[in-house]
């Protein structure tokens, strides 16, 4: 067991964990951040998507020992970015959720896209979300929500 310092959703945290403990379990069980879901636990479904230093990862596959000194952003924190807040509003407006289990991961994965490609095309959106499974919606409204956020970014950007 080791002490690991990391910055989660903008707050410095020190956790005590085995270096091979999954980031997913540390977030949910030690830090009480249960918005990050466990689906498959093997990197197939994307329900546990989080950002480490702005890079999209599956928290179920990241040993927490590799997070030392890193910034971790979860569904609870990413809305602080106005572009991501717009994305979250778009999921509500368009109805991009049904049962909700995949939704945090969808939004985190989409946030990685809208932060780097604010005018992403539908094909880019589908590629960016290819690692996130939804068993309810058929994906149409999810892609529509991200597309709306990308369109909103365009008009707000004024360019």
């Amino acid at each position: 067991m080791i002490d690991i310092e990391l910055v989660v959703n903008g707050r410095s945290q020190r956790v005590h964990a085995h270096p091979l403990a999954r980031l997913l379990d540390v977030l949910r069980e030690q830090l009480g951040l249960c918005g990050t879901k466990e689906g498959c636990g093997e990197g197939e479904c994307g329900a546990c998507s989080v950002l480490i230093d702005d890079v999209l990862v599956n928290a179920c596959l990241v040993p927490v020992g590799q997070c030392e000194g890193s910034r971790v952003d979860t569904i609870e924190g990413i809305g602080a970015d106005p572009r991501v807040a717009a994305l979250q509003r778009a999921f509500v407006d368009v109805g991009g959720a049904q049962c909700g289990i995949c939704t945090p991961g969808m939004i985190v994965a989409a946030s990685a896209l809208v932060r780097t490609r604010p005018r992403a095309t539908p094909a880019e959106i589908r590629t960016a979300l290819a690692g996130n499974l939804c068993r309810c919606t058929g994906y149409v409204r999810i892609v529509d929500a991200v597309a709306q956020a990308c369109g909103a970014g365009e008009s707000e950007g004024g360019a």
Partner: protein, 303 residues
């Protein structure tokens, strides 16, 4: 049920030397991006013991370019590969393999060194690395040695890497970049074609993977190199098939090469596919690629 982590000892050095010291002691395994090992750990199938986590070893990162080679640190991720402008131009099959490995979150974490060391015959990057004549640089306390990647895999999950060695770099010899297809067929130049057959475009483990590099002079195959996934106990460097193409007009050599490939692959039945399906699809995909090049069509991945 979760793995009993108390049975796992982990060190997380930042210096390459420290990694090599541990590996030299014997009994240490290497952890890189975790996209394979963490899955295995979760399935309670990772052997308890001692692990060197190399994720923070900066000496294993970065892509450097010289006149005759592109050298990738073993921790180069699939995302790094896709972003590199010169890899996009000169080694498009490797870029495509990276794009077809998992999805974005996996591509941000999975490493070339891990993909090679893990030695899965279904891995996506090895066929491209084989077709490009990649060279591995292995480091140990005893020194550094370079190996042709084509010789590296010796049996199912067996490689020439000694327990005290670390794959530190993957070197791609620079050759002519692949030519754009031309109407009437490619007669001169280099053509690359990468194909992956899986259940879907993303997140699939290959049923069949294929990387073909052809060098044509006046319509004759001056050189050929073929790598394949999921059709043998190892990532397959299809020497016999390439030999059936070399020195012959491409159009005349296709059926001989396809027949040779059918004999050279030794696929198995497993949860993802049957041996019969894999052999048939491997042969069909090779024929399709060669016919496309011969006819001047872009040998694109159509899945």
């Amino acid at each position: 049920m979760r793995a009993d982590l108390s049975r796992f000892e982990v060190v997380r050095p930042r210096a390459l030397d420290e990694v090599l010291v541990r590996l030299g002691e014997g009994g240490w395994s290497v952890l890189a991006g975790g996209t394979d090992l963490m899955v295995t750990l979760g399935a309670l199938a990772l052997p308890p013991g001692r692990y060197v986590d190399v994720w923070r070893v900066d000496a294993l990162r970065g892509i450097t370019v010289t006149d005759d080679a592109i050298t990738m640190g073993a921790l180069t991720t699939y995302a790094d590969v896709q972003r590199h402008p010169l890899l996009q131009v000169e080694f498009p099959m490797l870029v495509e393999a990276a794009r077809r490995s998992g999805a974005a979150a996996i591509q941000n974490r999975g490493t070339l060194g891990g993909n090679i060391a893990n030695a899965s015959p279904a891995a996506d990057s090895p066929p491209a690395l084989l077709a490009y004549g990649a060279v591995l640089e292995l480091h140990s306390r005893a020194g550094t040695r370079r190996l042709a990647y084509a010789d590296f895999h010796t049996g199912y999950k067996q490689t020439l890497r000694r327990g005290d060695e670390l794959i530190a770099r993957v070197i791609l010899p620079r050759r002519a970049a692949a030519a754009a297809p031309v109407a009437g067929g490619v007669r001169d130049g280099v053509v690359d074609a990468y194909r992956k057959i899986g259940t879907r475009k993303a997140q699939a483990i290959a049923k069949v993977g294929l990387a073909v590099r052809l060098e044509l002079q006046g319509g004759v195959v001056a050189d050929a190199a073929i790598g394949a996934a999921s059709v043998a106990p190892v990532p397959l460097f299809a020497r016999t098939t390439a030999a059936a193409l070399r020195g012959r007009p491409l159009a005349d050599a296709i059926e001989a090469a396809v027949a040779a490939f059918g004999d050279e692959v030794t696929p198995i039945d497993d949860v993802r596919s049957s041996a019969r399906y894999r052999r048939q699809v491997a042969v069909n995909v090779l024929r399709d690629v060669l016919a496309a090049v011969s006819a001047g069509r872009t040998p694109v991945d159509s899945l």
